[in-house]
């Protein structure tokens, strides 16, 4: 039964791909234009390859830099420039919006600088595990901390930072920090180039070590947020699928009774619109599932590793036990709600 579901999931992924490609609304990817040191690209197929200048980065691909490496991507002839600092996990994703694909540039961990010119046209969305950012012809940097926190610093233009149902607008030389599962904090002034990611991330690390149960509880809140979104989309998707099933049955009956011409008209009027609605819904389901997976892998997994090794000789420690309990709960909800939307290549 599980194998059957996996095959169905993979088939649906292909359908979404071809539907959008055929409709010519498949969003263009980015290109690696500069590399320093060893940089990996984890492809959507699951392969992990060394990145080279000129390599494409398309939907589902992640660019992963090490401690001593750096990468720059460009999109649409430098209308968008993406600077990926060391120790960063950057993913190129897409989400369905009003029948079209919209690019989401995601920073799960590390530091990514963005510069968009007016020539870009519609700007992409930016995301970290805890925030979504809408931009307007801007130059800004996103920092994603090891504990799931985010910090956005704007050099020029305007960005809207949304988290947990709250939104704040930032203009030139403004910044805001967001903890996972919470709304944006107070805005503050930032001078250009004055944020040191390593120092900020070290603060996040120290805060985690001091209060690991609090930190993992915030991850739990963020995971719950992803799962709520998945749940709501899943409901909508399941309703449409049921409707599609009924319409297909009616179509089949009509085909038998009235022939090809009449049934073709029925197909065009009643089935095609539903198919066009289900595809972006599934795309969005996959988007939130993959975002949850990124947080689980690059944030929660690392916190687990740090805590488990730190307390390896003291596993009955109260703080460790509390951390482990929350971690186990997050895993349980992740397994129930997110894993069914994943395939082996995502891992």
């Amino acid at each position: 039964m599980i194998k059957g579901m996996m095959r169905k999931l993979i088939f649906l992924c292909f359908c979404v791909f071809f539907l959008f490609a055929a409709a010519s609304i498949f969003a263009e990817g980015a290109v690696v234009v500069y590399i320093d040191g060893w940089v990996d690209i984890k492809k959507s197929s699951g392969d992990r390859i060394e990145a080279w200048e000129g390599d494409p980065v398309i939907s589902g691909d992640s660019v992963i830099t090490g401690a001593a490496s750096y990468a720059e991507l460009e999109k649409e002839s430098a209308a968008a420039v993406i600077k990926i600092a060391p120790d960063t996990v950057f993913t190129y994703r897409e989400i369905g919006e009003n029948g079209e694909k919209r690019t989401v540039l995601s920073c799960t961990l590390g530091e990514v600088g963005f510069k968009f010119s007016k020539a870009l046209g519609r700007e992409p969305m930016i995301a970290t595990p805890s925030i979504v950012v809408g931009v307007r012809g801007t130059e800004f940097t996103v920092f994603a901390g090891m504990d799931g926190s985010a910090l956005i610093a704007v050099d020029s233009g305007m960005v809207q930072v949304s988290a947990s149902g709250k939104t704040v607008e930032l203009v030139k030389e403004e910044g805001v920090e967001v903890k996972p599962g919470e709304g944006p904090g107070q805005k503050f002034r930032i001078l250009r180039g004055k944020i040191d990611y390593s120092a900020w991330n070290k603060e996040r690390f120290d805060a985690f070590i001091d209060h690991p149960v609090e930190a993992v509880s915030r991850i739990a809140l963020q995971m719950d947020d992803y799962i709520r979104k998945i749940g709501s989309l899943q409901k909508e998707y399941d309703t449409l699928r049921e409707k599609l099933k009924r319409e297909r049955e009616s179509y089949k009956k009509l085909l038998d009774e009235k022939g090809k011409e009449t049934s073709a008209e029925y197909y065009r009027k009643n089935i095609e619109p539903i198919t066009h609605q289900t595809a972006p819904l599934f795309l969005n389901l996959r988007y939130y599932a993959l975002s949850a997976l990124s947080m689980r892998r690059y944030v929660l997994g690392r916190l687990y590793m740090i805590m488990n090794t730190k307390y390896i000789t003291d596993q009955s420690n109260k703080t460790y036990v509390q951390f482990q309990e929350t971690y186990d709960k997050i895993l349980q909800t992740f397994t129930e709600s997110v894993v069914p939307l994943l395939v082996d290549a995502d891992i």
Partner: protein
Amino acid sequence: MIFSIQEATISSMMILSVKKEKRGKKRLYAAAALLLMLFSLSSCMTFQAVQKESDILNLIALINTGDTDRLSALTAVPFLFNGEIIALKDDARVFWSSLKAAGFSIEDPSVKDISAVDETSYRQFGDSMEVRAFFRNYVPKTARTALAVSSNRTVRLLVNGKTEGYPNIFGIKILND
């Protein structure tokens, strides 16, 4: 080894070119056999070493030294820690450093089992879709799982091949007794 095969190939071809037909045929067969033997030997150079008990014990001894540099170099990325997939290169160093800082050791180990990985091996590390996918995506078919029991804990290792005499580490599961 590469130069030996080239030399052997050139030698074989020289032999073939100067002898008469009847003796030439015999030489041809001999050269073919020689080449076949040399290629077989050369493929042995890249053949993944089958892990023995002594290899596992040597690896455990290295773990007990806390040599973070060497252990990081032996650790595949991604690697499996208990049921977690640790996906970033530098995290291997963080992992071993953290274990060393915590005073982790495996005292008086004995190796109870070394088995080839198969379709069900993933369950030894975690019965989940992610661990199963990790085995499918990242673990070579020649890998082995090894169970080591000591006075203070049980450790399961997932290893394959060797680097500088030590097994490469694809996963570790630590069970404190």
